[in-house]
C-alpha cells in the first residue's frame, strides 16, 4: 500500500492541479469560447476566490482577517459569490468596451486586485500569505486525503462540464454564440447583449473564483506569488486555446495536457545543476509557447474544435404541442 501510495502520489497531484486548471478553463470558455469576451484578468478572480475561501476557513490569526474556521464547502461557495459580486462591478464598468479594450481594462483591474492582496496586510497578511488552509477529509491519511481531494476536484469539473454542456446545447448557448459572432445582428434579433455579456462574465468569473479557492485548499497556502499572471492568466489562456475554445471537452483536455507538459518539464529541470535550474524556469515558459505553436499549426482551432450542436430531431418531438415556440409579435 505504501509503495502504491508513493507510486501514485505524483499522478494524483498532477491530475488534481490539472483538474483545478480545468475548472478555470471552463470558466474562461463561458466568457471567451461562448460569448467572445476577452478577459485578460483571470488572475484577479483567481485571487478573489482563493483569498475568500482561505480567510473564511482558516483558524484565528492576530495578523490578518480570519479565524472564522468555517467548513471548506462554505469557503468554496463564498469564493464563488465574492468573485461574482466583484465581476458584477467590473463587468458593469468595462463590458461596454469592445473586445481589445476589454482585455486591457481587465488586465488593469486584475493587477489592482493583486496589489490589494499584496499590500493590505490586515486582510491578507500581505507578502507572507495565508498558511494552514484546511482541506476537506482531514481525518484521512495524507495519501487518502490527496486521493479524496482529487475525487472532489474531478467531481466539481464533471458538474461544471455537464451544466455548461447543457447550456451550450440549448438556446442559451445559441444566443451567447450569436453575440460572439455578430453583436449588431444579435441586437437586431432582439437579444439584450449587455445583460447577456454581463451574465457570461459573472458566471465565468464565479467559476474562476471557485478554481482559485480549490487551488488554495489544494496547496494549503495562498500568497501573492500564486496569483502571478504567468501562472494563472497566461497558462489558462494557453490551455483553453490549445484544447479548443468553445468546446467544453477542449476546456478539460487543454489544461490536463499543458499542465502535464509544465509539470513534467519541472521534473527534468530539477535534475540540472543549480545555476542551470535557475534559468530553466524561462525554458519552461518557452516550451509552453512552443507547444502552443505546434498545436495551433496542426489544429488551428484547438485540438477539439468547436462543433455546433446537433439540431433537435423532428420525428420524436411532441407533435401535439401547441405552437408556442416563442413567436412574439
Amino acid at each position: 500500500m505504501a509503495d502504491l501510495a508513493t507510486f501514485l502520489a505524483y499522478p494524483v497531484s498532477l491530475l488534481t492541479i490539472g483538474g483545478i486548471y480545468a475548472v478555470m478553463c471552463l470558466g474562461l470558455n463561458v466568457q471567451w469560447g461562448f460569448t467572445g469576451l476577452f478577459n485578460a484578468g483571470i488572475a484577479g478572480f483567481f485571487a478573489v476566490g482563493a483569498y475568500t475561501s482561505a480567510i473564511l476557513t482558516t483558524p484565528a490569526h492576530p495578523d490578518y482577517l480570519g479565524g472564522f474556521a468555517l467548513p471548506v464547502p462554505v469557503g468554496l461557495v463564498a469564493a464563488m459569490l465574492t468573485s461574482g459580486v466583484v465581476a458584477v462591478f467590473i463587468g458593469w464598468l468595462t463590458l461596454t468596451l469592445r473586445s481589445d479594450y476589454l482585455a486591457i481594462a481587465t488586465i488593469g483591474i486584475a493587477e489592482i486586485l493583486r496589489l490589494i492582496v499584496k499590500n493590505e496586510d490586515w486582510l491578507t497578511n500581505g507578502p507572507r500569505g495565508i498558511p494552514g488552509i484546511p482541506r476537506p477529509f482531514e481525518g484521512l491519511s495524507p495519501f487518502q486525503n490527496n486521493l479524496a481531494f482529487l475525487l472532489l476536484v474531478l467531481a466539481i469539473v464533471a458538474v461544471i462540464y455537464v451544466a455548461m454542456q447543457r447550456g451550450l446545447n440549448s438556446p442559451w448557448g445559441r444566443v451567447m454564440r450569436a453575440i460572439r459572432e455578430n453583436e449588431l445582428s444579435a441586437r437586431a434579433a432582439g437579444k439584450n447583449i449587455m445583460a447577456r455579456r454581463l451574465e457570461a462574465f459573472v458566471l465565468g468569473s464565479m467559476i474562476m473564483g471557485l478554481g482559485g479557492a480549490l487551488m488554495a485548499h489544494s496547496i494549503r497556502f495562498i500568497g501573492p506569488e500564486a496569483t502571478e499572471p504567468l501562472l494563472v492568466t497566461f497558462l489558462v489562456w494557453v490551455m483553453l486555446i490549445a484544447g479548443g475554445s468553445g468546446n467544453n471537452r477542449g476546456a478539460i483536455l487543454g489544461p490536463m495536457l499543458i499542465w502535464a507538459i509544465w509539470s513534467l518539464t519541472e521534473l527534468v529541470t530539477r535534475q540540472l545543476p543549480s545555476d542551470w535550474a535557475l534559468r530553466s524556469a524561462y525554458i519552461r515558459v518557452f516550451l509552453i509557447g512552443l507547444a502552443l505553436q505546434i498545436i495551433l499549426q496542426r489544429f488551428s482551432r484547438g485540438i477539439l474544435a468547436e462543433r455546433p450542436p446537433e439540431p433537435v430531431p423532428l420525428d420524436d418531438a411532441d407533435r401535439e404541442g401547441p405552437g408556442k415556440g416563442g413567436s412574439v409579435g
Partner: protein
C-alpha cells in the same frame, strides 16, 4: 398587423457631413414603401437611425403613435419592428439553421437555469422553432445548406439568410435594406411574390431600400426618393421615373441605367 412609421424632421451627421438632413416622410400602415436615391443619399443611415443603431440629433420617429426615437434595436424587436442589413450580418460560425433558430424571442431555453431543468419543454419548443426555420429554409431554397456554417454561404445566400431572420422574428413591420442585391432573378421574383403575400394576406408593413428599379416598380407604392439626406419627392413609380428632379439627382446617364436595370 404592421404599424406605420412616421419620420419627422430627422437629422443625423457624421463629423461635418449631414448624412440625413431634416428628413420627413411616412411609411403608411400596410404599405410597401420604396426608398430610392443615388448612393450617399442617406438611405441606409436613415434606416440605421430608425432601427436604433444611431440616435438622431434632431427630429422624432414614431411607430404608430409611440415615440421610438433612439430606442435600442432589441426594444424595437419587442415592439415588432425589425430590419435586415445591406451587407449581410450572419452568425458565421453557426449553422444556417441556428442562424434562424436563434431569432424567436422568449424561448424557455434562453435561460441557463431552465436549460438544466426544463429539458422536455425546451425540446418541444426547439422542435417547434426548427419546424418554423425549416419552412423558411424551404421558402428561400436554402434547405440544402441547412447544416452548413453561415460563413461558408455565397453572397446571395447570405442575403437570403438576412431575409430569413426577419421572417423568423414574427415582427410585422420590416425594414429591408437592398434585399435583392446579389440574389438571382428567379429567386428574386419569388422573393417579390412573398413580400406581396406577407403584405396582402398578413398585413405586414415594409419599407424597402433597393437599387433595382424594376423590383421597386413592381412592389412599391408609394416610392420615396431621397437625395442629400432629405426627401426629394414621393409618389408612384410611374410619375417618379419622369420627374426631372429625380433624373437630375441620379445624374442623367446614371438615371437611365438605374431605370433600365
Amino acid at each position: 398587423m404592421g404599424a406605420s412609421i412616421a419620420i419627422e424632421r430627422v437629422s443625423k451627421s457624421f463629423g461635418g457631413i449631414r448624412a440625413v438632413d431634416d428628413c420627413s416622410f411616412r411609411v403608411e400602415k400596410g404599405s410597401i414603401t420604396g426608398l430610392i436615391g443615388p448612393n450617399g443619399a442617406g438611405k441606409t443611415t436613415l434606416f440605421n437611425t430608425i432601427a436604433g443603431v444611431f440616435r438622431p440629433e434632431a427630429g422624432r420617429i414614431r411607430l404608430d403613435d409611440r415615440d421610438i426615437t433612439g430606442l435600442a434595436p432589441e426594444r424595437l424587436f419587442d415592439l415588432g419592428l425589425v430590419r435586415t442589413f445591406q451587407i449581410p450580418h450572419e452568425f458565421s460560425a453557426m449553422t444556417v439553421l441556428e442562424n434562424l433558430a436563434v431569432v424567436p424571442g422568449g424561448q424557455t431555453g434562453e435561460s441557463l437555469v431552465q436549460s438544466w431543468f426544463a429539458w422536455g419543454r425546451i425540446r418541444r419548443e426547439e422542435a417547434d422553432v426548427r419546424r418554423r426555420a425549416e419552412d423558411v429554409l424551404d421558402f428561400l431554397n436554402l434547405s440544402h445548406v441547412r447544416d452548413a456554417l453561415a460563413g461558408e454561404l455565397s453572397g446571395g445566400q447570405k442575403k437570403l439568410l438576412e431575409l430569413g431572420r426577419a421572417m423568423m422574428s414574427g415582427a410585422s413591420t420590416v425594414l429591408l435594406d437592398e434585399p435583392g442585391a446579389g440574389v438571382n432573378r428567379t429567386l428574386l421574383a419569388k422573393l417579390c411574390a412573398d413580400i406581396q403575400r406577407l403584405n396582402r394576406a398578413h398585413g405586414y408593413t415594409f419599407c424597402i431600400i433597393e437599387h433595382d428599379m424594376d423590383l421597386i416598380a413592381e412592389l412599391c407604392d408609394p416610392v420615396v426618393v431621397m437625395a442629400h439626406g432629405s426627401v426629394l419627392t414621393q409618389g408612384q413609380m410611374a410619375d417618379i421615373r419622369k420627374d426631372p428632379a429625380v433624373i437630375e439627382a441620379y445624374f442623367g446617364g446614371a438615371a437611365d441605367r438605374g431605370a433600365g436595370a
